[in-house]
């Protein structure tokens, strides 16, 4: 049986607390905002790595984003992934989830033999959670979202996963190939492997693919491929708060709090 080939889709996002909207131009001020790998995507990678630890297999990382994302993919390689693909082209910019999922699907078609596609539950910037189901649909693959654990049965060519919903849980099984999303904090992502670092950051290549490499049709990518139009942008209105600091020892504060609670 050939090795199991898994792909982990990773998005690099600005740290949410560091983003502001320019009140004049109504554009995002990303300047100075540090970026990170979307935290749930680290959980997706960890899930793939633990499968690889147990049963072997190969892990490819896929990200659509600007060229600087390359460095972040190398972090994933140093953690234990085998290959990395960066889908980068000005023509991909402005993608909503329809265009994003098309582009990721074109990459999966080009790689060819991926059997398990793992994604995070949602990103910390757009946070739609629509990429996993959308990608499953372009590929016509079955889908399980919000997995907390995963088991792969190569003999029967299925995967089984547990998701927590509505205060209970369910265990679902789907045939391979399949798309899954991994619940945030489903596991504890490992650190980079010191011995892989040299290879990951210096020796190996991140494969860069543009629209042409992906044979992507221009009507499906970037702005033309995105039905959604952003017509406005603003800093979320936060209600004015009183910001009154209460003084005193614990029992005095408690008495003040009781008054506040009772007068409302």
């Amino acid at each position: 049986m050939p090795d199991l080939h898994m792909a982990v889709c990773m998005k690099v996002v600005p740290k949410p607390e560091e983003i502001r909207v320019d009140p004049e131009t109504r554009t995002l001020l990303r300047e100075g905002a540090r970026s990170e790998i979307n935290p749930p995507d680290m959980n997706a990678l960890e899930m793939a790595l633990s499968i690889k630890d147990e049963a072997g297999g190969r892990i490819s990382l896929i990200s659509m984003g600007p060229p600087f994302v390359e460095e972040y993919l190398r972090v994933g390689l140093a953690m234990g992934a085998d290959d990395a693909y960066l889908l980068t082209d000005r023509a991909f910019a402005g993608a909503d989830t329809l265009a994003t999922t098309y582009t990721l699907a074109q990459c999966l078609h080009k790689i060819g033999d991926v059997e398990v596609v793992l994604l995070g539950e949602e990103s910390s910037d757009g946070a739609t959670g629509q990429v996993p189901p959308g990608l499953a649909e372009w590929m016509d693959y079955p889908l399980i979202t919000l997995l907390r654990s995963l088991e792969i049965d190569k003999e029967q060519n299925v995967l089984r996963g547990r998701r927590n919903v509505d205060g209970g849980y369910e265990i679902l099984e789907v045939p391979l190939p399949a798309v899954i999303s991994v619940a945030t904090a489903a596991n504890e992502p490992r650190f980079m492997d010191f011995e892989r670092k040299g290879w990951a950051f210096e020796d190996t290549q991140v494969t860069m693919w543009d629209a042409q490499d992906l044979s992507a049709e221009s009507q499906f990518i970037g702005i033309p491929g995105s039905p959604t139009i952003v017509t406005g942008l603003e800093q979320a209105a936060s209600q004015e708060r009183k910001n009154i600091f209460l003084d005193g020892g614990a029992s005095e504060i408690a008495d003040q709090l009781v008054k506040i609670l009772r007068s409302n």
């Binding site: 910390s124 189901p133 079955p142 509505d166 904090a185 139009i229 936060s238 009154i244 029992s251 609670l261």
Partner: protein, 340 residues
């Protein structure tokens, strides 16, 4: 430009809301969708349909109609008895292609998000995620959605003028539901559902239903963060004294101290308490979006520079292990006095 399977000139001017049920009742978010759907329908004077998917659902019709839908659209089939994203997407897709509605709203629940995400691609249309407000542009018949991003710090206005249907998801707790009242009609229609076992790729191996916990409408919400070190008993006692309920930030949920249904915020529940009391919470946007509607916010944190204080009316710099027991004590004494 990518084209949707049908375009605005072909649409039926109608608004659909996809409803979910738990046992014999529609879920809270379904009532919220019906209320918002009604408002949008009235803005443009279009009919509102409540869509039910499953098997033998007629007992829910009266709830849909008394919550002011103009009609119920039933998608029933034995293969829809248990939820599978494959069968539900297929059934809804067929109904949409038959009736080409202009707007469809979904609850941002795990299952409806998956259906909506697949449908948007199948229909080549847009999907506005986790809307916090919605309205109709009457002249153009276009849905305008307010969505948040970056953990709630940014609001974007989205629309899809050239694609149909216009799809949007709404997080539970964002809109207020209406009381049941006299139905406007008794119209129930059935969509044709043709399904074959072969479309269903998911096999359900085990399913355990939990107790429904719902903190979205609690009048007083006592929230605990990493700073309470898992001591939710203390918070529960306080919440009970105040006639409220307990919520949490993500870390204690992830660490297993408390059920996920009690997570407040971006990926949890958006709550509408009159009073929110935050204990040992730093104040990440991801959390704050879940309580920012509260009339009064009280926060207790040992760090005087904790960002949560910016979002608070009353700020207590101190150790929760000291403040909360004192507060509980005072509330109990007060009870003794008032009951005496």
């Amino acid at each position: 430009m990518v084209a949707s399977l049908f375009d605005p000139s072909e649409e039926n001017k109608a608004i659909w809301v996809l409803l979910e049920s738990a046992g014999v009742e529609l879920t809270d978010v379904s009532f919220e969708l019906l209320a918002k759907g009604r408002e949008l329908a009235d803005e443009v004077d279009w009919p509102l349909a409540g869509v039910l998917i499953g098997d033998r659902l007629e007992h829910l019709n009266s709830q849909v109609l008394s919550h002011q839908a103009d009609e119920v659209l039933l998608l029933e089939h034995p293969l829809l008895e248990a939820f599978t994203v494959d069968a539900y997407t297929q059934a809804l897709y067929a109904a949409i292609m038959e009736r080409i509605p202009s707007v469809i709203l979904f609850g941002a629940t795990p299952n409806s998000r998956d259906i909506a995400g697949r449908l948007a691609v199948r229909l080549r249309t847009g999907l506005n995620a986790d809307c916090i407000d919605l309205r109709m542009d009457k002249d153009r018949g276009v849905l305008i959605s307010d969505v948040t991003g970056f953990g709630g710090g940014v609001v974007a206005l989205l629309e899809m003028p050239d694609h149909r249907p216009q799809l949007a998801t709404v997080r539970p707790g964002v809109f207020h539901s209406l009381e049941a009242s006299a139905p406007r009609s008794d119209k129930v229609r059935r969509a044709k559902v043709e399904l074959d076992q072969s479309v269903i790729r998911t096999r359900i191996i085990e399913q355990v239903k939990g107790e429904g916990v719902s903190i979205g409408q609690a009048p007083v919400l006592v929230c605990g963060g990493r700073g309470i070190s898992g001591n939710f008993e203390m918070l529960t006692e306080l919440a009970e004294l105040l006639g409220g309920d307990v919520g949490a930030t993500r870390p204690p949920v992830d660490e297993g101290y408390i059920e996920r249904e009690r997570q407040v915020g971006q990926t949890g529940v958006i709550c509408h308490p009159e009073i929110a009391i935050n204990c040992g919470i730093s104040g990440a946007f991801h959390f704050v979006v879940g309580i920012q509607d509260a009339e009064i916010i009280i926060s207790i944190n040992s760090d005087p520079n904790a960002p949560i204080f910016e979002f608070s009316d009353y700020c207590v710099v101190g150790d929760v292990e000291q403040i909360l027991p004192a507060l509980i004590q005072s509330l109990k004494e007060e009870r003794v006095v008032t009951h005496a």
